[in-house]
Amino acid sequence: MLALDILLSGLILGGMYALTALGLTLQYGVARIMNLSYGEFLVAAAFFAYWCFVGLAVNPLVGLIVVVPLAFVLNWAIYHILLTPLVRRAKNRDMLEVDSILATFGLLFVVQGVMLVVFGGQYHTYSFLSIPLQIVGVTVPINRLLAFGVAIAIGLAAYLALKHTRAGTAIRAVAVSPESAQLSAIDVRAAAAFAFALGGALVAAAGVLVSMFLTFSAAMGVNFTMKALIVVIMGGVGNMMGALVAGLLLGVAETMVARLGDPGLTLAATFALFLIVLLVRPTGLFGRSVR
C-alpha cells in the first residue's frame, strides 16, 4: 500500500514538474532561446488566474481558455520584436544562447516589475478544486490531479504531433540542425517563432493550473525557471517526452526519499538523480547528440 501511495503521489508531483517544464523545452530546445524570464511568465499566468477567481469570481479554468491564446500571441510578438534581431546577428548557436540569456534576463525584471506594480509583492493564494479524491485508497486533491492530467495530455499530444505531422517534423529538424533544415526548404525562423510562442502558451497553462494549489508571489519566478531547467536538461533539451519522463522521475524520487528516508534529503535526491543522468547520458534521457 505504501508503495502504491508513493508511486501515485510521486507521479502527481512529477506531473506538475513536467507541466512547468514543457514550455521551456520548446523554447530552449527548438527556438534556442534560453528564456530566463520563463518563470516570470508562469507567475504572471498564476496572477491572471488569481485575478479571475478572486477579483471577477470567474472559474480559473475559463481563464485558461483566455490566457493560453493570449500568451501565444504575446510570446510570438516577443520573439519577433525582441529576439529576432538577436537571431539575425548571431553567428552561431552558442552566441544566440548567450545573447538570449542577457535579453531575457532583462525581460525578467520588466515582467516582475509590472506584477509588483499591479499586484504588490505579497504572497497570493486561493483554493480551487481542492477536493480530496480517493484513487485505489490514495487521497489525491483534484487540482493536482488535473495538473498531472494536463501534463500527460500535452506531453503525449506534442510527442505524437512532432512525430507524425509535417510541421512537427520541421520543428524537430530545426531543433536538431537549423542549417540543414534550411536546406530542406524549412522556414527556420517561422518554426522557431512558432515553437517559442507555443512554449509561452504552455507555460501560461502551467501557471494557471499550479496557482490552484501553490502559494506564489511576484518574486518567485526564478524558482520555477530553475526547476524547469533541471527537468529540461535531464530529459534532453527540446524533447517533450524527455521532459515528461524526467519530471515524473523527479517527483517519484522525491516522494520516495521523503517517505522512506528523510524529507530533508529530497533536494539532495533531486540533484543526485540529475547528476547520475548527466554522467550516464550527457545529452539527457531522451537527448541525441546534436553536434
Binding site: D5, L13, G121, S127, P132, A218, A219, T255, G264
Partner: protein, 400 residues
C-alpha cells in the same frame, strides 16, 4: 537651533556641502526595503505598508512636534529598494546617512538584513527598531549596539509560549502527549525546532515524528502522511508562508485533524483566513494580537482603508507601535538628537496601539508567542498570563 550629530557634520565636511540655514521644516526619514527579490513578499506584508500608513498618519496630524523650534514638522521620505540583497541594503543605508542626510532610518525586513545592518546603524549613530528580526543572540547584541532593539520576543520565548500552552492543555486533559514536529530546514526552522524539541521533551511530551523539509517544498503530502501515521494529538510545524499554506491545505485534503494544529510564519496573514475561510478556525500559529484592544481594532480598520487590505496579525501591529515609539521619543527629546532619542527609546514608557511599551535591555516584552484563529481574528493565546490572552479552542474543529 538645529542640532546635528557629529557623524552628519563630519559627513557634510567631507562632501563640502552646506545645508541652507533655514529653520528645520521637515524631518527626513529614510528606509531601505526589499521591493524586489525573495524578501519582497514578506516586506510588503509586514513592513512597507506600515511605514506608509505611519507617514500618512503623522503628516495628516501636522507632523512631528519639535519643541526646540516650537512647531510640528512634516515627514519627508527617502526610499531605496535593497533588492533583498544585504550589500545593496548596507550601501543604501550608508547613502541615506551620508548623502541624503536623513534624520532617522527605519529598519529593513527580515532577521538576516537587520543583523547585517546593525553594525552600520550603530556606526552611523542611528536607532534601529528591528521589528522583523528574531534571534536568540538579541541580548548580546543590544548590549554591544545600544541603538538596536528587538520587538517580537526571542525565539526561545516564542517556543516557551507554545510549550506552556501545550502543557496547560495536557494538564487539563484536553490533549495527550504525542506531538509531531515539522520544520523548514533553514536557520529559522532549525533554531525553533531545536528549542521546541528540548522544551517539549522536558515537559514530558513524546515526539512521534520529527523531521525537517527543504525550503520551497511544493508537495507536503509525504511529510504529512508520515506525521499523521503516528496519530499525534498535536502537530507543530515551524514553516514559512508558502509551506504554511501548503501544510494546512494538504492536511485538509488528507483529513489530518490533530487536536492542536500549529503552523509557522504566515498563519497570521489575512491571506490565510482568505484562503481557508471557516477552515482557519482553531488553527494556531506564531504571533497573534489582541484585536479586542481598541487601538489594535482601529488600526486594522485604518490599515485596510489606506492600503486596501488588512495587516498581518503578528508583526504588523508591533511595527506600527514601534514607529509610534520612535515618534514619541523624538517629541520628548524635542529636537533631532539621535543619541538622546536612542536613550529615550531604551528608557521611556510609551503608549501605543498595542498598549504600553517599555523596552527591557532593548527588548520589547509586549508581544504574543502563540495565536489562534477565532472568528475573524488571530488572537493571542500565549503567554498565558498576558493580559487579554484568550483561552484556546481545543480540539480544533475538524477541517471541512
Amino acid at each position: 537651533m538645529r542640532m546635528r550629530s557629529l557623524v552628519a557634520l563630519g559627513a557634510m565636511a567631507v562632501v563640502g556641502w552646506v545645508l541652507p540655514a533655514s529653520a528645520q521644516d521637515s524631518i527626513k526619514i529614510g528606509w531601505s526595503i526589499s521591493k524586489t527579490g525573495p524578501f519582497a513578499a514578506g516586506a510588503s506584508v509586514t513592513t512597507l505598508p506600515n511605514y506608509q500608513v505611519w507617514v500618512k498618519d503623522v503628516n495628516d496630524a501636522g507632523g512631528i512636534m519639535l519643541k526646540s523650534i516650537g512647531k510640528r514638522v512634516k515627514v519627508e521620505v527617502v526610499e531605496y529598494d535593497d533588492r533583498s540583497n544585504s550589500e545593496e541594503m548596507i550601501k543604501a543605508i550608508e547613502r541615506l546617512a551620508t548623502q541624503d542626510k536623513v534624520d532617522f532610518i527605519l529598519p529593513p525586513w527580515s532577521t538576516g538584513l537587520n543583523l547585517a545592518a546593525a553594525p552600520v546603524f550603530h556606526q552611523l549613530g542611528y536607532p534601529q527598531l528591528a521589528v522583523t528580526a528574531n534571534t536568540n543572540r538579541a541580548l548580546e547584541m543590544t548590549k554591544r549596539w545600544p541603538g538596536l532593539s528587538f520587538w517580537l520576543g526571542l525565539p526561545s520565548e516564542l517556543v516557551d509560549g507554545l510549550v506552556e500552552t501545550l502543557t496547560k492543555l495536557q494538564k487539563d486533559g484536553k490533549i495527550g502527549k504525542k506531538v509531531a514536529l515539522l520544520a523548514v530546514s533553514d536557520q529559522f526552522g532549525i533554531e525553533q525546532a531545536t528549542a521546541a524539541r528540548a522544551g517539549l521533551k522536558k515537559a514530558g511530551f513524546e515526539l512521534t515524528y520529527d523531521r525537517s523539509y527543504p525550503l520551497g517544498t511544493q508537495d507536503m503530502q509525504p511529510v504529512l502522511k508520515d506525521a499523521m501515521a503516528g496519530s499525534p494529538d498535536t502537530m507543530v510545524a515551524f514553516s514559512y508562508p508558502p509551506d504554511t499554506f501548503g501544510i494546512t491545505e494538504t492536511a485538509r485534503v488528507i483529513g489530518f485533524n490533530p487536536k492542536v494544529f500549529f503552523v509557522g510564519v504566515g498563519t497570521a496573514f489575512p491571506a490565510f483566513k482568505g484562503k481557508f475561510q471557516a477552515n482557519a478556525e482553531g488553527v494556531m500559529g506564531i504571533g497573534g494580537s489582541n484585536a479586542d484592544l481598541p487601538g489594535v481594532k482601529n488600526y486594522i480598520e485604518h490599515h485596510r482603508k489606506i492600503i486596501g487590505r488588512e495587516p498581518d496579525r503578528w508583526a504588523s501591529p508591533i511595527t506600527y507601535a514601534s514607529l509610534q515609539v520612535l515618534q514619541q521619543a523624538i517629541e520628548r527629546v524635542g529636537k533631532i538628537d539621535r543619541a538622546a532619542v536612542i536613550k529615550e527609546i531604551n528608557s521611556g514608557t510609551f503608549e501605543t496601539i498595542i498598549g504600553p511599551v517599555k523596552l527591557e535591555n532593548g527588548l520589547n516584552k509586549n508581544f504574543w508567542a502563540v495565536g489562534q484563529w477565532q472568528g475573524n481574528n488571530f488572537y493571542g493565546v500565549a503567554p498565558v498570563a498576558k493580559q487579554g490572552a484568550r483561552a484556546p479552542i481545543v480540539p480544533k474543529p475538524a477541517f471541512k
